[in-house]
């Protein structure tokens, strides 16, 4: 199947190095300490953060830092065919672990000893790149909850089909069986916190694809910063600064 036309257009009309349209909102869940919705093209994800609060399970309490917990689930209606169970399966457990490790690396946990931070991420609409959208949504939700972090964490995926590196794969391109590289970075500090890949790639091609994904992450970071700035301005108006 042809994923990149001879004119250089992908299935959804994008160029190979073009990302999908981004949209984000903060403060969407009233009861949560922080929340955000992150949309990448047709992939829509909602994240809610609770904490820092008292640790529910005393045995897991750490006296010098906060405990970070994460739960990833997919809504029944998120995929084409209605899913039976959205969490508890192997993929969800794996992604929960991945998001938890990525966010834990950037939260300043030593500032909140003996407490627990819960991150709940749910996919409302799945069209490829749910992992990346989850991490981006979690970053915004943590910022909304005013939890101190080292830097933002942004994530983007890239693949290699028809001998072309493609940025931000959607579901059809992802299911093609080609390589799929997911990268998560701390933009200001220029450090990679997440790197995952499916399938195989020769090392120099991998270099190109990973660089492309990092560029995508930086573009997401610029957008996230805009959203945060806008949100902060709203707070300023309220406080009369």
């Amino acid at each position: 199947m042809e994923y990149v036309s001879p004119e250089g257009l992908r299935i959804d009309g994008r160029r190979p190095m073009e990302m999908r349209k981004l949209h984000a909102e903060m403060g969407v869940v009233a009861k949560a300490d922080g929340s955000a919705v992150f949309v990448m093209g047709n992939t829509k994800v909602i994240a809610a953060v609770y904490g820092p609060r008292e640790v529910q399970n005393r045995s897991q309490q750490m006296s010098d830092q906060a405990l970070v917990r994460c739960e990833y689930s997919m809504a029944n209606f998120s995929t084409g065919d209605r899913m039976r169970k959205g969490k508890g399966d192997r993929r969800s457990t794996e992604i929960s672990l991945v998001v938890r490790q990525t966010m834990e690396a950037c939260i300043l946990t030593h500032l909140m000893p003996r407490s627990q931070i819960d991150i709940y991420v749910q996919v409302l609409q799945a069209d490829g790149g749910t992992r990346c959208a989850c991490i981006n949504a979690a970053t915004l939700a943590l910022a909304d909850a005013a939890i101190p972090m080292r830097d933002l964490v942004t994530s983007c995926s890239a693949g290699y089909l028809n001998s072309t590196p493609l940025l931000d794969l959607n579901y059809v391109e992802d299911s093609a069986g080609g390589p799929d590289v997911t990268v998560g970075i701390l933009p200001k500090m220029d450090k990679v916190t997440l790197l995952q890949m499916d399938s195989k790639l020769p090392i120099d091609t991998f270099d190109n694809v990973m660089q492309l994904a990092i560029e995508g992450c930086k573009a997401v970071a610029t957008y996230i910063r805009e959203v945060l700035l806008e949100n902060t301005k709203q707070l300023e108006y309220h406080r009369g600064v």
Binding site: R114, M149, R150, L235, H238
Partner: protein, 252 residues
């Protein structure tokens, strides 16, 4: 390391020693109560940091420990002061008569940064007959006025009641129920004040006693108390705040 912090819109309370806080009892534990005060951990109120019902200053015995539930139970609302940070968390103390269990009123939860630290956090509004406690942790108590109990009075009561612990609402006699009855007007005033605070917190304005009273006076012109939570009153409150801020700018 570039640190990314949004300190001023912190949803959780940042405790300081000497702060007045209002909280809800979560658990009765050996020799202490665990209280939720909107902090990253539960605060601890030791039995020794609390005045005993009979008012005598003495060592807490095992009997006192067993009778802890007669002082505070789960889900009771209490008022206390922050004593400090100790090895197992935040400690509170309630050694004065103005602290202790809060009854006959409403507990409101607002973002902590809207409550400014002032000299006075306990307010008695005489004309409405209500007590207002602005907890630094964002928990606000609005209730019927309660006279701070005298030690002498407590002694008498203790002698009368003898073996019987505090009367619960199920075992009160008719007389006691009559005494406990809150008049309709007081209850309406409590609701007005609580709604005023709710509107101010939704709009994100600082909550001080002057602004609350101003908002309550404004609301007297409304027919129904629940109209205070509607959008028209919200607009009025916002306009009033804008006036206040512009006149403050002119003066300053």
């Amino acid at each position: 390391d570039t640190v990314f912090k949004l300190k001023y819109c912190w949803c959780r309370y940042k405790p300081e020693v000497g702060d007045i806080v209002v909280g809800r009892v979560i658990e009765v534990a050996p020799k202490r109560w665990r209280i939720d005060i909107n902090f990253s951990q539960d605060a601890v109120l030791m039995l020794s940091s609390m005045n005993l019902p009979d008012g005598i200053q003495r060592r807490r015995t095992a009997v006192d420990e067993l009778n802890m539930r007669s002082i505070f139970e789960e889900n009771d609302v209490v008022c206390a002061e922050v004593r400090g940070f100790h090895h197992d968390g935040l400690q509170l103390q309630a050694r004065s008569q103005k602290y202790g269990k809060l009854e006959r009123g409403q507990l409101l939860s607002i973002p902590p940064y809207l409550v400014k630290r002032r000299k006075q956090h306990f307010h008695y509004i005489e004309e409405y007959g209500i007590d207002l406690i602005l907890g630094c942790n964002g928990f606000i108590w609005v209730g019927e006025h309660a006279e701070p109990k005298d030690d002498m009075v407590i002694d008498e009561q203790a002698n009368k009641s003898d073996q019987i612990l505090k009367p619960s609402k199920y075992s009160m006699t008719l007389e006691e129920q009559e005494r406990a009855y809150t008049p309709l007007e007081t209850r309406q005033n409590v609701c007005r004040t609580a709604n005023a605070i709710r509107v101010l917190s939704t709009l994100g304005f600082s909550v001080t006693i002057e602004i609350i009273m101003d908002t309550v006076t404004m609301s007297m012109s409304l027919k129904e108390i629940h109209e205070m939570l509607g959008s028209e009153f919200c607009v009025l409150v916002a306009e009033r705040e804008a006036e206040r801020r512009s006149s403050a700018k002119k003066k300053g």
